[in-house]
Subunit: 268 residues, 2 copies
């Protein structure tokens, strides 16, 4: 399996794994975003991963390409956060390589990233304060000479995906370690997902519903792990409230990519 295929397999395995409280999975759709949208993006992103693996290229431009390739369906932004993690991982091969890619970004990467972000705005509520969502900032980026790594550092306090760029892919590393610890096969994905959900407030939830809901979701996941709350009931409650831990899903995908490269087996 080459790196591009590993990235696609990680996207497929994440969305199929169930139950993942609050997220689209094999058992749940949202009315506007369904399992097929996630799997269509998995198929259609391939040329961006291929380019990253075979010809290199700039990380900002490749994120933009991946988002462009997957923006044609009605399911909205399924994998923007995942591409932010996967593109440097595929470019660099593994976490060490991704760190080198992050360290080498420049202003053009930042500009391309903004262009990619504009394509995803359909899924962003007006209340979102994701600071990279202001096209007027492009002039400021050039003026200040901000790299894409600088942009991510600016967003990191409120965005756990951007934070991966600043902390050496720490949660991606932790997720891969959790997969190894839980053993091979798809149930390990669900177990590792719950572990992360129970220990980190999801910043996608925080942006959408506020920090208190993100904290409460984390506590509920911890109660599931402790046996004090039913997993499927928790899942149904999250789905009903639109409380979807989308950033932890992105980190799940990155963690599966890394673990697959380290010998973790999905197929058992």
């Amino acid at each position: 399996m080459d790196r591009a295929e590993r990235a696609q397999m990680a996207m497929m395995l994440e969305v199929c794994a169930y139950p993942k409280p609050g997220n689209v999975d094999r058992c749940h759709d949202y009315s506007d975003t369904r399992l097929e949208h996630f799997l269509a993006s998995t198929i259609l992103a391939r040329p961006a991963f291929d380019a990253a693996e075979r010809t290199g290229g700039r990380v900002g431009g490749l994120i933009r390409e991946a988002v462009t390739l997957t923006a044609g369906h009605a399911g909205g932004n399924t994998h923007f956060g995942a591409f932010i993690l996967l593109i440097p991982l595929v470019l660099g091969g593994d976490i060490d390589g991704a760190r080198r890619i992050v360290a080498g970004t420049d202003v053009e990467d930042a500009i391309d990233f903004y262009a990619a972000f504009g394509l995803t705005s359909v899924r962003m509520a007006e209340s979102d304060d994701l600071d990279v969502n202001d096209p007027a900032s492009i002039a400021a980026i050039r003026e200040r000479g901000m790299t894409l790594a600088d942009i991510m550092a600016h967003s990191a306090p409120r965005d756990m995906v951007a934070r991966e760029w600043t902390n050496g892919f720490a949660l991606t590393r932790r997720f891969a370690d959790l997969l190894h610890a839980h053993g091979h096969g798809r149930q390990a994905i669900v177990a590792a997902f719950l572990d992360l959900l129970a220990s980190e407030p999801d910043t996608f939830i925080a942006k959408k519903h506020g920090g208190a809901v993100a904290e409460r979701t984390m506590q509920c996941a911890a109660e599931v792990l402790g046996g004090g709350r039913d997993l499927c009931a928790f899942d149904a409650e999250c789905i009903a409230g639109g409380v979807n831990p989308g950033s932890i899903a992105d980190i799940t995908i990155a963690g599966i990519y890394v673990a697959l490269g380290e010998g973790w087996q999905w197929d058992c």
Copy 2:
């Protein structure tokens, strides 16, 4: 969407559509073959479709490549029949083109096809009488100068996928027409699948369980359409008995590929 992506989308949409009585779908796995196996094959077959679309090549060799690319997981033969239909369709573009591809096959295509078939034998019971499953026949093929189209004609009486090669992709055409008739979106796939299941005995079922079971499955599907049988109960009964209409699933994939090329929309 290029042809290769259309082929992959057709494979993804078929396996996700539910309920499809007896087959792996979003709601059902078999113990040895799961949703993820079908989706892994969908991802991993890409280079064979790319080669068919971009560089042409021989249909037998490309079927062999597709099977080889997807034989690495433990889920067995997920898409052999689908590749028999999709490879000429991607090579030729549409049904007319696929007919020309079929008409141009030669002895080397037949030999490559046998090699591909050998890779899938893990999923074949000893009772299967699929006539292309005898490697000793290769010498006879060369001696008689049999083309791959000749092989398919030989198998056609007992194999509805091979029969597509001899009748100008008649059921593929019918499935695409059924999709257009049922309207856009994933529910049309289920409706068209049931229509075909209710009107044609599935030859995969016939090989596995005998002609009577294939006939009875067809009659049950007709009863579902007539309102006299519950769809989900019928699905559960098929799954429990391992009665899976795998050949109609292959034709479903080919029909989705054709319909997508004619403007049918999956995404609504």
